[in-house]
């Protein structure tokens, strides 16, 4: 570890041309051969900006001012081109779609070394080595389009490896991936980390995945200053409170242990992953009982019928639990099948039956291609479904016009920008009311109410596209609800966002749900599901495997049957040997509370 540093940062401050202050600010650290460095910090602290500076994209390709010096293999980045620096530092970016240039995997991996004028025979050798390492060599003649998100991101890693640079910088490489893709990418990174041939600099907010492979963490605070630089395990375990205060998201297992500590159960050292949490909990003789809902409550709440074409035994049990006194469901889906791309397209939703009671918070989960989004879009009338197969509060969404639909169900797309049509935030909200033919005075009052509700009052005259990511998301939820819809449907609302922002949105949804709005989300983040949803519907290959109250679904076999992995907390508690009463603990709020709640 005492070799010459590969990267040296000295007093680095970077200000984007449109920004008023520099983030990061005055950051100095070194990266040595073979090290795996994790760059942490709250949203907006400049982690990704710093990553771009490590191979000279800042200041050369991005409009930003760099102060201080970044040296890569002794070369000062401001004095050398990105191309020269690419021989020393290779990058992997967040968006797997935006890194593909050519038409086959082999050409793609060869693209970098070809640009470097490496001899053809060596280009092929490097490409073969890189593709074999990420497990894509057999698919080298395929078009990158046919790969999954995880596959394309592994391809991006292979492309970076083919540059033969000793440093690999990865900027949120798994933010756009589903859990299966995240696992694929981390399997590759784990292998790279263990080989010690490359130094790896990782910007990542998903600490649950990353924590096992990193040696060292560098932490920036909200103003972009370096506050902590030290060995990963030591920092995460000993300075966890400090990190939490900075707004850094910790591994779920660590958060759980901190919450337990407040309740009087001290786990020391703090566990960093589910296995450690489970071991630590089993080592404690007596645990306070978890805050599980009394048995009757959940059963009474299970008003959802869940039966797919092949009636599953446990699903019919759930159906049997449907009590007679349950109110009429807000949404009733019967034998709904949807094809994509017209009559001859593939069936993506296949014979789904689902009831959602008014006031539920339902999460639809499943792997990529399970038909989640299509089902949600059919329920919201975004795409047509067979006549009579869907009923939302007495309306058939495929047959209703936009105005009638907007009164019953609001739909929020994955990218909020897609839905914006007006020139100011206030107009954006007013549009939905105008469509309903609401008179001006009421319209004005209602817009004011929505602006206040979603904390957008000071932005009322801004263009929707100029809002920050979180504000855009809030506005899109506002526009979906402004016509008074009692049902809100959201497609992957947390996709590509960090934990803090995802959690902020989920809190808003929780608030709306508490006020009586029925919320439907499609997501693949099972810990968010566990923490927020009242009910879960599990899909696989277009079929509904089952649905029911969150606790029951997460305790049962459905999650694994759907090809998903249990959320970290459930993984830790399921296998506890000494505390069977803890097996049903899946969400933070079920952990015993002390004086000071953390999550």
């Amino acid at each position: 570890m005492n070799a010459q540093p590969l990267i040296t940062l000295d007093g680095v401050s970077i200000r984007h041309d449109e920004a008023t202050r520099a983030t990061p600010a005055d950051v100095s650290f070194e990266v040595r051969p073979g090290e795996v460095v994790l760059l942490l910090g709250p949203s907006g602290c400049g982690k990704s900006t710093l990553a771009l500076a490590l191979d000279g994209l800042i200041p050369h390709a991005v409009p930003a001012t760099l102060e201080g010096t970044v040296r890569v293999a002794g070369l000062e980045t401001s004095a050398h081109t990105v191309a020269e620096l690419s021989e020393h530092v290779a990058m992997v970016f967040q968006d797997p779609d935006a890194q593909v240039v050519t038409g086959t995997l082999l050409d793609e991996v060869c693209f970098g070394p070809e640009n470097q004028l490496v001899a053809a025979s060596e280009v092929l050798e490097r490409a073969e080595r890189a593709l074999k390492l990420v497990g894509l060599w057999d698919r080298r003649t395929d078009n990158p389009d046919v790969l999954s998100g995880g596959g394309r991101q592994r391809l991006a890693v292979a492309c970076a490896l083919a540059l033969a640079a000793p440093v690999l910088v990865l900027d949120e490489p798994t933010a756009n991936l589903d859990p299966a893709g995240i696992d694929e990418v981390y399997a590759v990174l784990r292998e790279l980390a263990s080989e010690r041939d490359h130094a790896i600099v990782l910007v990542e907010h998903n600490l649950d995945a990353a924590v096992d492979i990193v040696d060292r963490v560098v932490v920036l605070d909200a103003s972009g200053r370096l506050v902590i630089d030290g060995p990963a395990r030591e920092v995460l375990q000993q300075r966890a409170d400090e990190l939490l205060e900075l707004g850094v998201w910790l591994p779920v297992s660590t958060l759980a242990a901190m919450r337990l500590r407040a309740a009087g159960v001290t786990l020391s050292p703090l566990p960093l992953n589910p296995a450690e949490l489970a071991a630590a909990l089993d080592a404690v003789d007596v645990l306070p009982s978890p805050l599980l809902a009394p048995p009757g409550t959940d059963a009474a709440r299970s008003r959802m019928v869940a039966s797919s074409a092949e009636a599953r035994p446990d699903a019919s049990e759930l159906a049997g639990a449907t009590d007679v006194t349950a109110p009429a469901p807000a949404i009733r889906v019967r034998d709904c099948s949807v094809r994509r791309g017209g009559r001859r397209g593939p069936v993506v939703v296949d014979g789904v039956d689902l009831d959602v009671a008014s006031g539920d918070f339902l999460a639809i989960v499943g792997t990529n291609g399970a038909g989640k989004t299509t089902l949600l879009q059919a329920i919201a009338g975004v795409i047509p479904a067979p006549r009579g197969s869907i009923d939302v509060l007495g309306m058939d969404p495929s047959r209703a016009d936009a105005r009638a639909r907007a009164r019953q169900i609001g739909f929020v797309f994955q990218n909020p920008e897609h839905q914006f049509v007006a020139h100011t935030v206030a107009e954006e909200l007013e549009l939905g009311l105008r469509l309903q033919g609401v008179d001006e005075a009421t319209r004005h009052a209602e817009v004011e109410r929505m602006l206040a509700r979603f904390d957008l009052v000071e932005h009322r005259d801004r263009h929707p596209f100029l809002l920050s990511g979180g504000q855009k998301r809030r506005l899109s939820v506002g526009t979906a609800l402004v016509a008074g819809a009692p049902v809100l449907a959201l497609d992957e609302p947390t996709f590509g966002q960090d934990r803090a922002r995802a959690s902020e949105l989920l809190d808003i949804l929780g608030g709306l749900n508490a006020e009586g709005t029925t919320v439907l989300v499609v997501t693949h983040d099972l810990q968010l599901v566990a923490d927020h949803a009242s009910h879960v519907a599990v899909m696989r290959d277009g079929r509904l495997l089952g649905a029911g109250p969150t606790a029951e679904v997460l305790a049962g076999p459905l999650v694994e049957e759907a090809g998903l992995r249990h959320p970290p907390l459930a993984r830790a508690t399921r296998g506890l040997a000494g505390h069977p009463e803890w097996h049903a603990v899946t969400r933070m709020s079920q952990l015993p509370v002390g004086d000071r709640a953390i999550a």
Partner: protein
Amino acid sequence: MSAATPGTAPTPTPPTPTPVTPTTPATPTPAAQTTPATPATGAAGPASVVRDPYAEQAPVSGIRFLHHLNPLAKFAAPLPVMLALIFTRGVAIPLAFIVLALGLLVIGARLSGRALAALLLGVPAAILVLGFSFGIWVDPARIEGASAAASVVIFAIGDWQFTLAAYLVGLATALRITALLMLSLLAGLTTSGPELVRALVQNLRVPYRIGYTALAALRFVPRFGHELEVIRAAHRVRGTDAGRGPVAAVRRTIATAIPLLASAIRHAERVALAMDARAFGAHATRTERTISRWRVRDTAFVVAFWVVSAAIYWWALQAGLGGVTPDRTEVGL
């Protein structure tokens, strides 16, 4: 078209011109089109049904000679004819070139059953329909009244008569357009995107930055198409697709263009960063793993095509079966 000049020697820019196969020891590649990757074709992965503009061509038998030609040869050979066709009148010459192009494609190109059916059945049908619709628009005043065909009325609606002469004029136009299309298909159906870019960069000396950027941009098209669909759906949900007529349509188009542009610019920026980070544009040239050669057979193909074309023109003009005129508005058979 400097590279079209017969005899241009293959001058590969970068070092080590021999393509090397990584697994198997350097195979003496029989044809230039056999890329190093082909030994594993079909080893894994679903073969996509849709024509993939990037896909390297699988090895084809020798008789399918169009696949073994330099893409530039396939453009250079028909180009003078295409220019001449614009100024050609009459039915015979375009028809002759359609038959020639069809013959070359059927023999020299590897076509799916569907493509073959479309060529052999669809093309004549299209010519007949196009000929009729063009014929309707012919100004009767410009047809020579004296000709025999002008007095043959095919059908009449009131005072307006659709004469054989009008149909023949329409047919000639339809044949010209079809001939242009068929000649461009010689290259279009037998060349992949990367092959064309390689030929342009290596043989025609187009800067590689332009060639490969264009290739990368080709990837944007399906992406933006998909994105546009999502945006339209999102706007339908907002209820802004209401209203009929051209004004509402323009308003809708502008409303969908803004988010599409915003996301297109962002995407293009990201792709540009990713390309920069992989040393794109670092040097004046880049390594070419596959060398695009101009061979004797390319010269032979171009020369032969030109000779045959000249012969067709000479024969038709001799026989009075058509004319060449610089006046493109002239109606004539």
